[in-house]
């Protein structure tokens, strides 16, 4: 597949340029419904490039792309290895599907005269997320992080038309997110002061040559805190439930599927590539903090999810728990020589992106029909909106980790990794989390299928296909992976071994 011809060696930069140009032009070229068509086209192009890039990297290894032709390590480098390509494809692919969904959903959530700006922010957010993933330069990473964060604050605030609390959610996220980003900036500054370089590969080389001193240790600490905020790792998740449940539904789907995943990617990149030294990838206290927080996230997130009164909040707290699984796999990844934990972690990034993205889209469908997705309004919805409800159940089964769903495959690897690395207690915690996930999923099932329907004079017919199809594409993809996990496992384990191998 080489349809780009001579352009093909510019693939990495195209991945950022396409959505960026799309974003800038969006308010100019497109008003009203044309705005969607423009955004959709942009996303199709982006996703195609991301797929092409992944295939290329699988066949011929990582790609380094010096921006503007400057010699490395002085110029800014784009560096795409298998892990970056996977995450970029997840962002672009899920972004494409959610863009399809947004066509219908934004009509009732965003004022007409804001469409152009909405799509502009939307594409910029995706630009930023992809930029983080493919950059090889630490400071560039910070800039990309801020591009995505700032646009996401704006996107969340656009939920004000449906729920004015979206504004406060966006404000709180902005404050916490900016502090998190500032911590990352400090960390990058400290690393620069020790090494005099910003290129990630170069940083790794130079850090390997010097003893870990107070500066490097505090850089690690700042990174840990900043990234913890960005990936909503318990107990730094406080911004997330409100932001996810009040944002426009398409935005919630996009964020849940991609934004925190990119945060986790940054953590993997920093801890396993940049900061990796001979004495260990993660220092012992870091492992303890990360795995402790992850374990607490699993239990706290799932238990809190079971007590929520609306589907959106339930899903948001469930995300807190699921991020716990991913971080857990990452945190103990280095002590598992077989690579199962890290593979499980990467697999869970993919499967959780699909499942949770799909689930948030379903939650949005309920909002679209009923104006809310509080549980007391959802009673008996299983009969009235069978396809949407079935999608929620299928996604929920994935969160539990029932065999036949993508969630099972990733948990299987994660569990094996936990056993292999001698953490059976953490494995028990993961399994407990699954049981708790069954409890919260079953709350929905009981309400939707066993309670008599409520009469509130609202239209309860099934959602339009424009929303249903994208939701089912994501959920369906997670089921397909559940049954045919072979290729995904292969890619994820390759990415995991590169990441672990890169630690020396």
């Amino acid at each position: 597949m080489n349809f780009l011809g001579a352009w093909s060696h510019h693939l990495p930069v195209l991945l950022v340029l396409i959505p960026l140009i799309g974003a800038v032009l969006s308010p100019i070229v497109a008003r009203g419904s044309r705005g969607w068509a423009w955004a959709f086209l942009t996303m199709v192009a982006t996703a195609t490039v991301a797929l092409e890039l992944l295939l290329r990297i699988r066949s011929s290894g990582p790609i380094s792309y010096p921006l503007g032709g400057w010699n490395l390590p002085f110029g800014i480098e784009l560096y795409v290895d298998l892990l970056s390509a996977i995450i970029a494809l997840v962002v672009a692919g899920v972004g494409l599907v959610v863009t399809f969904y947004a066509r219908t959903s934004v009509r009732f959530e965003i004022p007409d005269d804001r469409f152009g700006f909405f799509w502009s922010l939307w594409l910029l957010a995706i630009t930023g997320l992809i930029g983080i993933v493919i950059t090889g330069d630490a400071f560039n990473l910070y800039v990309m992080l801020e591009i995505s964060s700032l646009t996401i604050y704006g996107l969340i605030a656009m939920g004000r038309m449906r729920d004015r609390r979206a504004l406060t959610a966006a404000f709180n996220y902005l404050i916490l997110g900016s502090i998190g980003a500032a911590f990352i900036l400090i960390a990058i500054g400290l690393l620069y002061s020790e090494t005099g370089t910003l290129n990630m590969a170069d940083l790794h080389r130079r850090l390997g040559a010097i003893e870990a001193n107070a500066t490097i240790r505090s850089a690690r600490a700042f990174l840990l805190a900043g990234l913890g905020l960005k990936m909503a790792l318990f107990p730094l998740h406080l911004w997330m439930p409100a932001a996810y449940s009040r944002a426009p539904s398409a935005v919630a789907g996009l964020l849940a599927a991609t934004a925190t995943k990119v945060g986790i990617y940054m953590a993997m990149r920093f801890f396993y590539t940049v900061l990796a030294t001979d004495e260990g990838i993660l220092t012992a206290p870091n492992v303890l903090i990360l795995s402790g927080c992850a374990g607490a996230a699993i239990v706290f997130g799932s238990a809190t999810a079971a007590r929520q009164r609306s589907l959106s909040l339930l899903l948001a707290f469930s995300s807190v728990a699921q991020i716990g699984y991913i971080v857990l796999g990452m945190a103990i990844g280095h002590s598992d020589p077989t690579g199962y934990a890290m593979t499980g972690s990467i697999l869970h990034i993919i499967s959780h992106a699909l499942m949770k993205g799909g689930l948030f889209l379903c939650a949005g469908i309920f909002i679209w029909r009923l104006g809310t997705n509080d549980f007391d309004q959802l009673a008996g919805i299983g009969r009235r909106m069978p396809w949407t409800s079935a999608a929620v159940v299928a996604g929920g089964l994935g969160l539990i980790g029932v065999p036949g769903t993508a969630g099972f495959i990733s948990k299987l690897f994660l569990l094996r990794g936990l056993f292999e690395s001698g953490h059976p207690l953490l494995a028990v915690l993961v399994l407990t989390g699954s049981v708790l996930a069954a409890i919260y999923t079953w709350r929905f099932v009981e309400i939707a299928y066993l309670k008599p329907p409520v009469e509130n004079g609202l239209d309860h017919s099934e959602a339009p296909l424009g929303m249903l199809i994208p939701a089912w594409i994501l959920i369906g993809a997670s089921l397909v992976i559940g049954f045919y996990p072979g290729p995904i496992i292969e890619i994820a384990s390759e990415a995991a071994s590169t990441l672990l191998g890169g630690s020396g």
């Binding site: 028990v428 066993l450 496992i489």
Partner: protein
Amino acid sequence: MISLPLLALLIPLVGALLPWLLRRSPTVRNAVTLLIPLLLLVTVVKMVPTVLAQEAIEVTLISVGPGLSFALEVDALGMLFALVSSSLWLLNSLFSFGYMYPIHGNSFEGQERYWSCFSLAILAAIGIAFSANLLTLFFFYELMTFSTWPLVTHSKTAEARRSGRIYLGILLGSSTLLLLTAIIWTWIITGTLDFSPGGILASSDATPGQISMLIVLFFFGAGKSAIFPLHQWLPRAMVAPTPVSALLHAVAVVKAGVFTVLKIATSVIGTDLLIGSWGAEVVAWTAAFTILLASLIALTRQQLKERLAYSTISQLNYIVLGAVVAFPAAIEGASLHIAMHAFGKITLFFAAGAIYVASRKTSVDEMAGIGRRMPWTMTAFLIGTVSVIGLPPMCGMWSKWLLAEGMIAAHQWAFLGALLLSSLLSIAYLMPIALRAFFAAESEGSSEHGEAPWICRIPLLLSAAACLVLFLWPGVFARLAGMVG
């Protein structure tokens, strides 16, 4: 040419879809509801000669990764379970018409879901029976839990919801926390999940302590076998319509649990490792305790279905005990008991359902003298009772005989005592119902009613007849059971 084990999975899958597709033409749907089990039975029976000839039938469906795949393999034990499930499914579909239509009307609410979930549960049973490795088994095991939950909560009442929660909580909790842990642990130790005769752990370098831990995790993880303290879900599940209790909670679901246990004993752990490990000791004593406890509780229950449920718990643990004692005769008896208990117990449940259809009676007290009004039903009930107790001339005798032989061979006198004592108890909790139905006087003011409709009685009489026939010619079941282990 599609392979037979795969076909055996596809038929119930189609059966799960058809009720939704045919919702506008009930006649066609009813015909299909009988046709599908028949097709499945034919498919399964066609594989019998191959299995008896000890030829392997193997199909790899999907390869997941190194050492991981979804694959099917038909062996003697699996064939036994599949044969029982598919033949009784046919009877039970017939009985479902006779039970659901008089009680809930010809187009009862949630009808599509009911038939569809039934098919899925059988699909899961066949899948469990034919699975070639622990991954496949676990997949179908969980499928069974989820597909039977809507049947348990069929009435949607508050009680049904509560029971549904306990059902799911115990089955899912035990399988996730214990069974999955054991599976992953086995995977790490042996590097494979494929079943192999003699056990995959037998040829590994696992320490005796690890083996014992694994035994405990596996045997308690298969919570569907209703071993104490995980037996609570079974009496709770009796809130479901009687055909569901009959097929699923006397045959398919619970037998899936004990089948898993037997399969793991013979093909994962291996009987050599079981004998003499402390893990097996723990399980055996718990099973013996469960047998007696459940029998004693059964004595106190006045609701017929509940009494039958406790009887099932007790009988299931015969199989667990047989599996964990692991002497050849015990394994053979345990395998045979899967079939023999199924025929006896489903007869009893059918009878309970027929009584309910005819008279709306559920309590044991109300059934005095009912034999004069419902002679066919109660005769069948008597046959079922004799079979479950394990007396000649009914089929239940053979499996108990072999189990007892196994206990003697293993010099497990305490367990032998438990078996015999529980048989005595089962006489005490089952026999009076049948006898009082014929010989006691009807209580004052009981309603006028006659026999259940024929469509209820036919499956009931067929399964009762099977109890008798299988005593005289245990034939294929005995041969299959003899090949296990």
